[in-house]
Symmetry: C2
Subunit: 163 residues, 2 copies
């Protein structure tokens, strides 16, 4: 119970620290500043995702194919990190995957009000990075983005980059 | 297993991010810069400690006295956050406590070599803050410092500030 929230509390502090640092010398943040923050958080997530997947797959058999890897991310990886499985996985079978989480852990601490929708991206950047880092260590280059239509549900889009 | 390292990985990224931010505009960091980093990490830890102890003590009976609180920190709090209990608690019965952890979780990922001793403080600041935050929410103002003589063992000194 407490161990669970430890990660969320730390994540929240980290997000607010990154934004505070970026803002420290300015009156107001512009879109470029916000993009810089998202990028910092995404990179941190990337490295954490790399480290985690290494531990997670230590005793796993190798994967059959790309879809097999994505299923592992949706089940095992998601459960370990976010304490629930992805609710829905869709793919066009051409390297694009949509992972839907109806109650995304990193958003459940935020209020559900519509006015908080604008704040969602900063709470998703680290997680996008983690997924990208995990996939990268499994040999898949990808672009991972997230969008929120209704809190706290969240859709992650993974586009595998073919060489 | 993986959940456990998630906190450590995130903590490590956070430490390195705070130092990178501070260093970004300089050739070299001086003591003042280092103190600023430690202070940022300590404050983040403080807020996380406050949040955690609130959850942790929700179903706990109230505490008898100061020593009772310190024992709770050494056992329950330490186990939840660092996955082990404090090995030794000493006090002068005048508000000073020394908590010894012979294998401190936040240091076990670092190499044991003597040359890494200099790096220890940056990995302890957040934890010191967490202890201070937890005590603060239990009604005790304190100063918390940590020192490492031999890795990965660590001594935390807690000095309760009487009014």
């Amino acid at each position: 119970m407490t161990d669970e929230v430890l990660f969320e509390f730390l994540h929240m502090e980290m997000v607010s620290n990154v934004y505070k640092e970026q803002q420290s010398n300015k009156m107001q943040m512009d879109n470029k500043d916000r993009a810089a923050c998202v990028s910092v958080l995404e990179s941190m997530g990337f490295r954490v995702g790399q480290g985690l997947i290494e531990r997670l797959t230590r005793d796993s058999p190798s994967f059959k194919d790309e879809l097999d890897i994505m299923k592992f991310i949706c089940k095992d990886f998601w459960t370990k990190v976010f304490r629930r499985q992805i609710d829905n996985l869709r793919t066009n079978h051409q390297g694009t995957y949509v992972l839907q989480d109806n109650k995304f852990t990193m958003l459940t601490q935020l209020s559900n009000g519509k006015q908080y929708l604008d704040h969602a991206p900063k709470h998703l950047a680290f997680s996008c990075g983690m997924v990208r880092g995990a996939l990268s260590n499994l040999g898949l280059d990808s672009v991972v983005t997230a969008e929120v239509a209704v809190m706290p549900s969240c859709k992650f889009q993974v586009v595998i980059q073919k060489l």
